[in-house]
């Protein structure tokens, strides 16, 4: 779904592509960062929501292009992630050169399970190097590994590393240079004759298959992608052969492979000391306890959420202040060219500002996400919350993105990358923007402050705020259920999640994750957000005949208005006849059932690129101050009348408008980020369903309210 594939996929001439594979939680990203430094690029594989990360690794003689593949326990391709690993190793992805070597990341504390994947990967025949990470941790647990002996037994270089301390990284670079061009000598699994014959049969059905692929077709009973008809035709017979050989096709691979590995490992590894091995898990007694664990969870999540909300806020105010200064400065320099002035001030500077404004939240959220992941707590959070999500078809991993979207959906959508299952990730992306983000607050405070608080008192005002925040969450859960069940046909996700030992994260690791996400947002989503801002500026600016300004000004002066009010009247007149204003007037009938007049409609439409603009736009439409706490604006809203004299803004209309804002996807940045992460098709879907929901909600409130309290209430 990346449009940059052309640019990203082009490897620098001469850089040898090397795939990096390994189980999750093995220190794969840490190693990748240590080998490539900041020379990284992130994108998506074409057509799937699987992240593609590459980086350049320089050695004196050669340059390697490391391709970081998704962490997986097995090549059994039951998900998109695993399918990508198999496809890349076989050179099946269009535009993706087949790697010329594989770097296998193997966790030394968990050698046996990690080598399962290595032995599958070895079947691809490519040159292979094993990075034995967490060698320091293995030592602490009393595990002794004879790396030289192991390397001799496995037929491939085995380099023990403790990456955060820099140990083993230089040796790995050397090993990559040495193995280049030499197929690996990893001892193949001695398949019994029946299995070997079955593999041959599958391979013969399609001469284009690599041996690794032939094994996968034979062993994987529920693949993510159906094999070609010619292959599918022989599978039944081939599996029957395994059965006839006295083995169960479900378990034959695991059984034979592990038996082979046990023989290879014999004498190279000593087992862990049980007391010392339990230490890094000790805090689990507390952190997953049914009372203390939940308390700790709520405290941690509150801390994360509150920091995003409160720490980012002053920084964002600062950015807005700076932006304002810039606009004044640029505006003064361009007074002689009004159209250029408007383009620079309201278009360009505003566009840049609307990208930069998200950075504080994104950086803070990803600081915490990286911290939670690297310590190992993220897995515990998913463990604690799984029950809450399981009935929707999702699992506990959706919790953090959902919570973050109460601050802002943009970083939240980026945070869904921690969810491996692409469908679960997609449906979390689709419902996240329903959570009431901080940009909806000014709208709520204007409406509540003007129409609820004065009539019903502070208690109801508070309740209204709370209800608006709850509303999104309450509808998100059933919507997630429907999307999963009927749209994505998500099989109930299994929840098989490793609980890694607790680790002390490194500042470098956390900082790198934080900044790479920030950079990626600016590069990938920033451009689209910027383009949106310019487009919307154009829609509210053009056409811009000078006569409108002159006439309005003359009328306003004749009424004896002050300079400020004259200026506002002119702004209001221009908006009314702009493309946006005309469009708003022509679609007002659609919003009439929700009690919106054309002015509310224009303001609501103009707020589609960024919902917080509603208040400012209402200010322009009513030619008054555009601030949520402005008594001027509140008074003006209260004075608005329908032609028959009924007030336009009643508490019911105010609530209808708030409900509309609660549901509607009025945020160009969210749409842009969605499109980047999930494709334009899904972004359009989210936009459509949320707008539909918003309209229905607003109409239901207005019609219901009018029925109960009458049209004038």
């Amino acid at each position: 779904m990346s449009t940059e594939s052309g640019a990203v996929l082009a490897a620098p001439a001469g850089a040898v592509p090397v795939a990096v594979v390994g189980n999750p939680n093995t220190g794969k990203s840490t190693l990748f960062n240590a080998l490539t430094g900041a020379r990284q690029q992130v994108g998506n594989y074409p057509g799937v929501t699987v992240e593609r990360k590459t980086g350049l690794c320089r050695t004196p003689g050669r340059e390697f292009l490391l391709v970081d593949l998704p962490g997986t326990y097995s090549l059994a391709a039951s998900s998109q992630d695993e399918q990508v690993v198999v496809d890349v190793l076989s050179g099946r992805l269009p535009g993706e050169p087949r790697p010329q070597a594989v770097l296998c990341v193997v966790d030394a504390t968990n050698l046996r399970r990690n080598l399962f994947l290595v032995s599958q990967v070895a079947e691809a025949g490519l040159p292979l190097v094993i990075a034995l990470t967490m060698a320091d941790e293995a030592g602490k647990r009393g595990i002794r590994i004879d790396a030289a002996r192991l390397s001799a037994r496995l037929g491939v270089p085995v380099i023990p590393c403790a990456v955060p301390r820099g140990q083993g990284v230089a040796e790995l670079r050397e090993a990559l240079v040495q193995v280049a061009g030499r197929p690996n000598a990893f001892p193949p699994v001695p398949w019994p004759p029946a299995v070997a014959e079955a593999v041959r049969e599958v391979a013969a059905a399609d001469p284009g298959l690599t041996p690794a692929e032939a094994h996968r077709h034979l062993f994987d009973l529920e693949p993510a992608r159906e094999p070609a008809p010619a292959v599918a035709a022989v599978l039944g017979k081939a599996r029957q052969r395994i059965l006839d050989g006295g083995l169960n096709p479900v378990s034959a691979e695991a059984y034979l492979r592990y038996r082979h590995l046990d023989a290879l490992l014999e004498g190279s590894v000593s087992p862990a000391d049980p007391v010392r091995a339990a230490r890094p898990y000790a805090v689990d007694r507390f952190l997953t306890h049914r009372f203390w664990g939940l308390l700790a969870f709520c405290t941690i999540m509150f801390g994360v959420f509150a920091s995003i909300y409160w720490v980012a806020d002053p920084i964002m105010k600062g950015i807005e202040w700076l932006q304002g200064k810039f606009q004044v400065w640029a505006g003064e320099g361009l007074t002689s060219r009004p159209m250029l002035q408007a383009l620079v001030v309201d278009g360009l500077i505003n566009g840049v500002g609307s990208v930069v404004i998200f950075l504080p939240q994104i950086l803070i959220l990803f600081f915490f996400v990286a911290l939670l992941e690297d310590t190992g707590y993220m897995a515990r959070a998913a463990f604690l919350m799984d029950k809450v999500f399981s009935w929707t078809g999702l699992n506990g991993k959706s919790f953090v993105p959902m919570l973050s979207s109460f601050a802002c959906a943009v970083p939240a959508i980026l945070a869904t990358r921690t969810i491996e299952d692409p469908k679960a990730r997609l449906s979390t992306i689709l419902v996240s923007p329903l959570m009431s983000c901080s940009a909806r607050l000014p709208v709520y405070s204007l409406m509540v402050g003007a129409f609820i608080a004065p009539r019903f008192g502070a208690l109801w005002a508070g309740a209204a705020f709370f209800a608006m925040h709850l509303l999104g969450l309450v509808v998100a859960i059933p919507i997630a259920f429907f999307i999963n069940r009927f749209l994505l046909k998500l099989r109930t996700l299994p929840f098989i999640l490793e609980m890694p030992p607790y680790r002390l994260p490194t500042l470098r690791g956390v900082a790198m994750k934080m900044f790479s996400n920030g950079k990626e947002f600016v590069v990938r989503a920033g451009t689209v957000i910027f383009a949106f801002s310019i487009l919307v500026w154009a829609l509210t600016y053009f056409p811009h005949p000078e006569s409108v300004g002159r006439e309005t000004e003359a009328v306003a002066r004749a009424r004896g208005l002050g300079a400020k009010d004259v200026e506002r009247a002119v702004g209001s007149a221009y908006l009314e006849q702009s493309l946006m204003g005309r469009f708003g007037k022509s679609v007002q009938p659609v919003f009439a059932p929700a009690g919106f007049d054309w002015k509310i409609t224009v303001a609501a439409l103009a707020a589609f690129p960024a919902r917080e603009m509603l208040v400012a736009t209402l200010g322009i439409v009513y030619a008054t101050e555009g601030e949520a706490d402005s008594s001027d604006l509140r008074d003006r809203l209260g004075q608005e009348r329908w032609p028959d004299g009924r007030p336009i803004f009643t508490p019911v209309v105010a609530v209808a408008l708030m409900v509309f804002f609660a549901f509607c996807l009025q945020c160009g940045s969210t749409v842009a980020v969605m499109a980047r992460e999930a494709g334009w098709k899904w972004a359009a879907f989210a936009f459509a369903y949320m707008t539909g929901l918003a309209w229905l909600g607003a109409v239901a409130v207005y019609q219901g309210g009018s029925l109960i309290w009458g049209k004038g209430a």
Partner: protein, 74 residues
């Protein structure tokens, strides 16, 4: 009995991984082979999922997945 019925802190030995789908194969690939010993180390606050220790590492599973792992209590 299955892993689902094993009490917390009790160990058992895997007898069979039931089922013929991707989940069974994933569990097998992770090392839940017949003869392997497992121990329930945690139960989530709402009773589901559970965390088990196998071969020196820990993994959490839902009861529905744990049900497919037949065990003999040690």
């Amino acid at each position: 009995m299955s892993l689902k019925d094993l009490a917390i802190d009790r160990a058992g030995s895997i007898v069979e991984v039931a089922g013929a789908g991707a989940v069974a194969q994933r569990l097998l690939a992770m090392g839940f082979l017949p003869g392997t010993s497992v121990r329930v180390v945690q139960v989530a606050p709402f009773g589901d999922p559970i965390t088990v220790e196998v071969d020196g590492w820990r993994v959490s599973l839902r009861l529905s997945e744990a049900a497919s792992l037949k065990v003999r209590p040690a």
